[in-house]
Subunit: 211 residues, 2 copies
DNA sequence: AATTCAATCCCTGAAAACAGGGATATTGAT
DNA sequence: ATCAATATCCCTGTTTTCAGGGATTGAATT
């Protein structure tokens, strides 16, 4: 019996996957979580083999939760899951130790294939995910793939930029000089490879850095 | 027997809802669609009572599809559905004729309640949706709720802004003067109530105007 | 002990965006 | 026929962003 935990912030999605797996012999949904923290607590207290982990969640996202989970439980398998086909989700998740990755726009079959593969100890990524990863390799290799994660402060500044505050206003709000905000803005543009604030917000959304 | 069509661009979500409704006596999932156009075609060719319609879809979104559906079939019921709790999705959808609305982060129970209510000819919005609508009423009433839909050209300009193009670059790309682009940008800022491009992109995302 | 990272602060000049006017042509609806 | 909406174009002056340097501090890691 494969014990599965579903971690996603959309209850209806959880209910759906639950119903879908319900009829599959050999698989049992032993719990659910609506954010990363809940998932970790659940995995500590119960016997879980595979976590189906959404990347974008409030409180603690899938990437952080996965890192945390592997610190204590090496045998656990994590299947990454996201809506958007952005390569950063995928690579972040796999780098954090996830054993597989599928997109929400793939169907039931891929999900089951992934679960069985992971349980056997294999790595599984769906065909589409494979294409995305391959394309990303061919394009710019790994030399630019380091500066990605934002610091606490940078995230705050990013949020302020997104709601339309100017550099000066952000400084006032966060009690720092506008020059400091400028520096953070500069680093954000660099890290998210954006030419200006508009693209910055756009890229932030695509990578799930906002909401 | 209630004949249900599911329209969502995420196959896994469709599969999940399908599995969830499968066990419910009196409800039958008679088809699925991954965008608005497919949904319309399906409703023409088959007997459908209720369409579970995601708001954000490629090709043709839920709002347009709903309008189109009611032109030919008055008896049809449409249940709007979205991830984000933005009031614009909800009001746009209900104005287009949708008979109900629920969020994806509500569970199985709300979905079933909604389906049964709609089938009886009632309108259904989940408790959370109700709160959002109420709060929106209390805040600014309907006086600002007119200038919302973007023109074809404005959408094009918006997309260009989001990918980081400057006014001049957009003008060159669309073969129009930079002054014209300025005007469109101005109108976009007004329509989306944004103070600058960063907030513009942010609001556009929240209202599903991008992707 | 040395190093890296995050956070803070500072400056200048060029480029872009924003606010605010104003104007014309076309189309589709009333 | 008139009106509203859309798309097009133009100008000026101010504000903000962006690119490009620079620097210091403290905390955590090696």
């Amino acid at each position: 019996m494969i014990n599965v935990l579903i971690a996603d912030d959309h209850q209806m999605f959880i209910d759906g996957i639950r119903a879908l797996l319900q009829d599959i012999p050999g698989i049992k949904v032993v719990g659910e979580a609506c954010n990363g923290k809940e998932a970790i607590i659940h995995c500590r207290e119960n016997q879980v083999d595979i976590v189906i982990m959404d990347v974008n969640m409030p409180e603690m996202d899938g990437v952080e939760a996965t890192k945390e989970l592997f610190k204590t439980n090496k045998k656990l398998k994590v299947l990454g899951l996201s809506m958007h086909r952005d390569r950063h989700f995928i690579s972040d998740m796999l780098k954090s130790g996830a054993n597989g990755y599928i997109l929400k726009n793939t169907g039931k079959k891929d999900l089951l294939d992934a679960i069985y593969s992971l349980y056997k100890g294999e790595t599984y990524v769906s065909e589409e995910v494979n294409k995305i990863l391959l394309a990303s390799f061919l394009k710019d290799s790994s030399k630019y793939e380091v500066k990605e994660r934002l610091s606490e402060r940078e995230s705050e500044v990013l949020d302020c930029i997104a709601i339309g505050l100017t550099t000066l206003e952000i400084g006032e709000k966060l009690f720092i000089s506008k020059n400091t905000v400028e520096t953070h803005r500069k680093n954000l543009l660099y890290k998210l490879k954006a030419k200006n604030t508009a693209e910055l917000v756009n890229n932030a959304y695509k990578r799930g850095l906002i909401n």
